[in-house]
């Protein structure tokens, strides 16, 4: 090896340097390998980040006055409205059923319409839904009275974007019959001048 190096005077130093470097690197790696048993992954910063994200997500989840689980049967439409959401009784109209508060009102929607047997022909009031809304309003009135708040008969309608107008009109008439004085539509906000969704 020495003779070879002597024969190549120009490349000699370079080659020797490279060899020495490689050896140094190898021994360093070996040393690191030995010590590696003691070196643990420092996850403190990751833990900090996760704690912050967790707090943020939990807060945003808990602070929503209206929770809507969007799925295939309930997709919300976009609107340019700037009115913020408030906590109130929610009527959810999906592709399959009407839900009053948390309880399904046993009103099924088939093929985009409500079965005629569930609707009063003369007034368009959905009988079962009216009962459910009355019960919910009574419950809310009791809660308001207990908390010393002013009673408000306000309802938010959260409807699937394909809900037919006929159902919407029937729901509105039913709410009016049940004594609701104010109705609001729950939508997703899309500021004017922007293009949202489809």
């Amino acid at each position: 090896m020495t003779t070879e190096n002597q024969n190549l005077p120009v490349e000699e130093n370079e080659e020797e340097n490279a060899y020495a470097k490689a050896r140094r690197a190898k021994s360093k790696a070996r040393r690191a390998g030995r010590e590696g048993q003691a070196i643990g992954l420092n996850i403190n910063s990751m833990m900090d980040m996760m704690t912050i994200i967790l707090c943020f997500l939990l807060k945003s989840y808990g602070a929503e006055p209206i929770t809507v689980n969007e799925n295939e049967d309930l997709r919300l439409t976009f609107s340019t409205t700037s009115l913020p959401v408030e906590d109130m009784l929610v009527i959810t109209v999906t592709k399959r059923e009407i839900i009053v508060g948390e309880q399904p009102a046993s009103v099924e929607i088939r093929g985009g319409t409500i079965d005629a047997s569930q609707v009063q022909a003369s007034t368009n009031v959905i009988t079962r839904m009216e009962e459910a809304v009355r019960l919910e309003l009574e419950r809310e009135a009791a809660v308001s009275a207990a908390l010393g708040r002013e009673e408000q008969k306000v309802v938010t309608i959260v409807a699937d974007l394909d809900t037919q107008f006929q159902i919407l009109a029937q729901v509105m008439v039913t709410l009016a019959a049940a004594g609701v004085t104010e109705v609001k539509f729950g939508v997703l906000q899309c500021p004017q001048g922007n293009v949202c969704g489809g």
């Binding site: 996850i43 833990m47 996760m50 704690t51 994200i53 967790l54 997500l57 939990l58 945003s60 989840y61 929503e64 209206i66 809507v68 689980n69 969007e70 919300l76 439409t77 976009f78 609107s79 340019t80 409205t81 700037s82 009115l83 913020p84 959401v85 408030e86 985009g112 368009n124 938010t156 409807a159 699937d160 974007l161 394909d162 809900t163 037919q164 107008f165 006929q166 919407l168 009109a169 509105m172 008439v173 709410l175 009016a176 019959a177 609701v180 004085t181 104010e182 109705v183 609001k184 539509f185 729950g186 939508v187 997703l188 906000q189 899309c190 004017q192 001048g193 293009v195 949202c196």
Partner: protein
């Protein structure tokens, strides 16, 4: 002695279970979180006896602002006046008539033509794309800025529009109609002052009154007045019962 030695060794906190919990909770919460703000639209509940009955009883020929009714059908938009006053009705006739470029009433035809007809979008396109929103907006601006009614709309602060539709019209179209009729808008490139009586009303129409497309209305921004609040066009919407359009 041995016991003492054991206690002296600092115990390492085992973070693995907390990490596991975080790893599960974070994706779960992120999936359920919706990063779009929700909002509300205020709607007036239809009264059982129908609207504007008090005004219908008045025998006077006073120029009352029209009680605007917007009917949405698969043929387009129909604008009607529910205020039974003869003077108002005569004044309103020009606004109920079809827009320039839309088919006029067929002689002896039973069906009245829509005030705002459909766009050129394909027949199988969604209804939201087929309806001419810019045309509707421009016609609403014409009604709202009519000099004889302008102050009355302002005074009463009750520029209400009753929205009704054919049974099969989807909810998204109703919401879009409310959005279109709520506030005055302008194209984002221009600066327009809030409307005043006797002003040049054509400047509030998109595309100078004609040739406006639906893209113009979706890219438009509100005209703001006092305290940077948008200026109302017909800010109060009510849902009416489905009714005949003739």
């Amino acid at each position: 002695m041995a016991k003492k030695y054991k206690e002296a060794v600092p115990a390492d906190l085992d973070l693995a279970p907390i990490m596991n919990l975080c790893m599960i909770l974070i994706p779960l919460l992120m999936l359920s979180a919706v990063f779009v703000d929700k909002g509300l639209i205020e709607v007036n509940v239809p009264s059982a006896g129908g609207q504007a009955t008090a005004q219908q009883d008045e025998p006077s020929e006073e120029i009352l602002p029209p009680q605007l009714v917007l009917m949405i059908s698969s043929n387009g938009f129909y604008l009607r006046n529910q205020n039974g006053n003869a003077t108002t009705e005569a004044m309103f006739a020009q606004y109920a008539a079809p827009l320039p470029g839309c088919p006029a009433a067929a002689a002896g035809g039973a069906d009245q033509p829509p005030t705002v007809c459909l766009t050129d979008a394909a027949a199988d396109a969604p209804m939201v794309e087929r309806l001419n929103w810019a045309g509707l907006y421009n016609r609403l601006v014409e009604i709202r800025t009519n000099t004889q009614w302008f102050e009355k709309f302002n005074e009463e602060g009750a520029a209400q529009i009753i929205i009704t539709a054919d049974a099969s019209v989807p909810f998204s179209v109703i919401v879009k109609a409310m959005d279109t009729s709520r506030y005055f808008v302008r194209s984002s490139a221009t600066v327009v002052e809030p409307p005043t009586v006797g002003g040049d009303m054509a400047q509030y129409q998109l595309g100078g009154g004609s040739g406006a497309s639906n893209a113009d209305i979706s890219s438009a921004v509100y005209i703001t007045g006092e305290e940077e609040r948008p200026v109302g066009l017909f800010p109060f919407a009510a849902i009416g019962a489905p009714q005949s359009r003739n």
